[in-house]
């Protein structure tokens, strides 16, 4: 059987997210609850979570979460890590043994900082350096896979239903200011843990619902800039696009949303704000190969915030709600109600309309 990377595996899904604008910490319990009423949107072949603010004591270090097929490959990989990084802590990620989750690989995490000598020699900035090593391991080291690589954040994913994955990883014991969750409905199952979502690169994480039709146009474009789409999944290509637009090109979140979910030309032509019209025209003309078509709803996680976005035709459902300092996002309102029964201002963002929520400065 071919796994993600050897073959393209379309999948549908459920997503949910919560963030505190005040930066208040929440345990993972709440986001696990969100996935229960959306059980039917997954099929037990993948579930996962991303959490921000969970490693305050190691906030200056990149937290590498890794799957290994064997002890030997872990040892081999650690040799490579030691050549490039200072490792301040390495440990097994604690899990619970539950009957719903089986066949786990070796799951390990490392808190690391790039060696300055390496950075200087390669003339790279720190993030680029880390990103390249993550891609090198994932592309070249068979049996080792980095599934999380940001600072003060982490993803947790497995083959199983998301609510079980949350229990497995003891997420009730973590405290974060923002959480995203994903239940996967892939159209086949190699049963590979790395194929579950969220997908991450550095601090970016994406949970995604839908199957994009522009995949290979996007992939072949973004691979010109050093990204390697080793998994052949939509989520992977979207996160590289976001990394490219936000980090490399320096676009704002809203501008990046206008690239990947660009308005129709007729909608742009009808815009009465001339500057706005010019900007949209410009972005569509400059990045035509980064327009993402087909159904998607995504939640992009980053340091201090979340962005939710639907495709421009809004072919997937997504609702947003609020209560006090919290903002909730999910594929179905029922998931929001499961997190916060008294959620207010429930609304469904229009296609291509980004919802950006940021934690107030200094609170994360």
């Amino acid at each position: 059987m071919k796994i993600e990377g050897q073959v393209r595996i379309p999948s549908g899904c459920a997503i949910a997210a919560v963030i505190s604008k005040e930066g208040k910490k929440m345990s993972g319990k709440r986001i696990i609850d969100a996935m229960i009423p959306m059980h039917d949107r997954s099929n037990g072949l993948g579930g996962g979570f991303a959490a921000y603010g969970i490693y305050p004591e190691y906030r200056e270090f990149y937290a590498l979460h890794m799957f290994f097929d064997s002890r030997a490959i872990r040892k081999e990989c650690e040799v490579l890590l030691k050549e490039r990084f200072e490792i301040v802590k390495s440990e097994i990620i604690p899990t619970r043994t539950i009957p719903q989750i089986t066949d786990e690989p070796i799951i390990w995490r490392y808190f690391v900082a790039p060696l300055q000598s390496q950075l200087a020699a390669m003339q790279l900035d720190e993030k680029e350096f880390v990103a390249r090593i993550v891609m090198k391991i994932n592309a070249e080291m068979k049996g080792a896979y980095v599934f999380s690589s940001g600072k003060n954040m982490g993803t947790f994913k497995a083959v199983g239903f998301p609510e079980d994955v949350g229990v497995f990883y003891r997420l009730d014991e973590y405290e974060g200011y923002a959480w995203t969750a994903h239940g996967r409905y892939p159209t086949n199952t190699p049963g590979w843990w790395g194929g579950a979502h969220p997908f991450t690169l550095l601090d970016w994480s994406i949970v995604h619902n839908g199957e994009i039709s522009s995949y290979d146009a996007n992939r072949r474009f973004i691979e010109m800039f050093g990204y390697q789409c080793t998994l052949q999944t939509d989520t992977e290509v979207i996160i590289y696009i976001m990394d490219y637009l936000l980090r490399v090109q320096g676009l704002t979140l809203g501008e990046a949303a206008s690239v990947i979910a660009a308005p129709f030309w007729s909608t742009i032509a009808d815009k009465t704000d001339l500057k706005d019209r010019q900007k949209h025209q410009y972005l569509r003309t400059v990045f035509p190969s980064l327009l993402v078509t087909g159904p998607f709803s995504i939640v992009l996680g980053f340091h201090g915030g979340l962005m939710a976005l639907n495709d421009r035709l809004k072919l997937r459902s997504m609702v947003v709600g609020e209560k006090d300092d919290k903002v909730y996002i999910a594929s179905e309102e029922a998931a929001i109600r499961a997190m916060e029964p008294d959620a207010e201002n429930i609304w469904a963002p229009a296609g291509g309309e980004p919802v950006i929520i940021k934690v107030k400065d200094g609170a994360y």
Binding site: L313, E333, A348
Partner: protein, 239 residues
């Protein structure tokens, strides 16, 4: 008869609903799908958010929801009534052929898509707030009314309304100066006689949600009708 939605999955819940002829109340509903699918009798009241495909293939039952509803409400509905005391998700009333859907608040994308009328069956959808893009796409019959109450600055309907419309009528409580309609429909200001057609529906809306029909009807409306029952017949050449 009372059901606690918290304790039942959709299959058990629907099985219980089918077993009784009595009026039913479902409390604590949270995401259970397909409630009342294909059912013909009963009054069903729901507290909490029902899941997708509420009242799919509904054939006569009367459903009231005291919350928002999710996607695909009244999918392929044939008769009955669905009343939502809140907003409604995407693709509401897809291919509905009969019955009525009343939404107090706003509708998502693609409301009333492929709605169709047949003989004595004339489906009606009344949306109290605003509607998302692609309202009445492929509409082939029936009546869609959007009132735009409490719309504030939002447009009464999003982008691309009435694409492929080839039957039925749409009433939008707005002069629609900011709305672009496709070329195969005619949008014109409603006259008094037009509004008489929908007075009954607006009355019913007001009785359900407590407002005044006269005040609502005392505003500019736009009526949209298709120019042709056969919008695409020029498009093909036999080969």
């Amino acid at each position: 008869m009372l059901f606690n939605g918290k304790e039942q999955d959709y299959r058990a819940l629907n099985e219980a609903l089918r077993k009784t002829q009595e009026d039913c109340l479902i409390t604590g509903c949270c995401g259970q799908r397909f409630i009342a699918a294909g059912m013909s009798r009963q009054n069903i009241t729901i507290e909490g958010v029902p899941g997708n495909a509420l009242g799919a293939y509904l054939n006569g039952a009367d459903i009231t929801v005291y919350a928002n509803a999710q996607d695909a409400v009244g999918d392929t509905m044939n008769g009955g009534r669905i009343v939502i005391h809140g907003d409604i998700g995407d693709a509401a009333g897809y291919a509905m052929r009969g019955g009525k859907i009343f939404v107090k608040g706003n509708a998502g994308y693609r409301a009333g898509i492929h709605m169709k009328a047949y003989q004595d069956k004339a489906p009606v959808m009344v949306i109290g707030g605003t509607a998302g893009s692609f309202l009445g796409e492929y509409q082939a019959g029936g009546t869609i009314v959007v009132l735009g109450l409490a719309a504030e600055n939002r447009k009464i309907v999003g982008f691309f309304p009435c694409t492929g419309m080839h039957g039925g009528k749409m009433f939008l409580r707005s002069a629609c100066e900011d709305i672009k309609f496709p070329s195969q429909v005619t949008a014109r200001p409603a006259e008094k006689t037009d509004l008489e057609e929908i007075k009954g529906y607006v009355d019913e809306y007001c009785a359900l949600f407590g407002c005044h029909a006269d005040e609502i009807l005392d505003a500019p409306f736009t009526v949209v009708t298709p120019d042709s029952k056969n919008p695409y017949h020029q498009m093909y050449v036999a080969n």
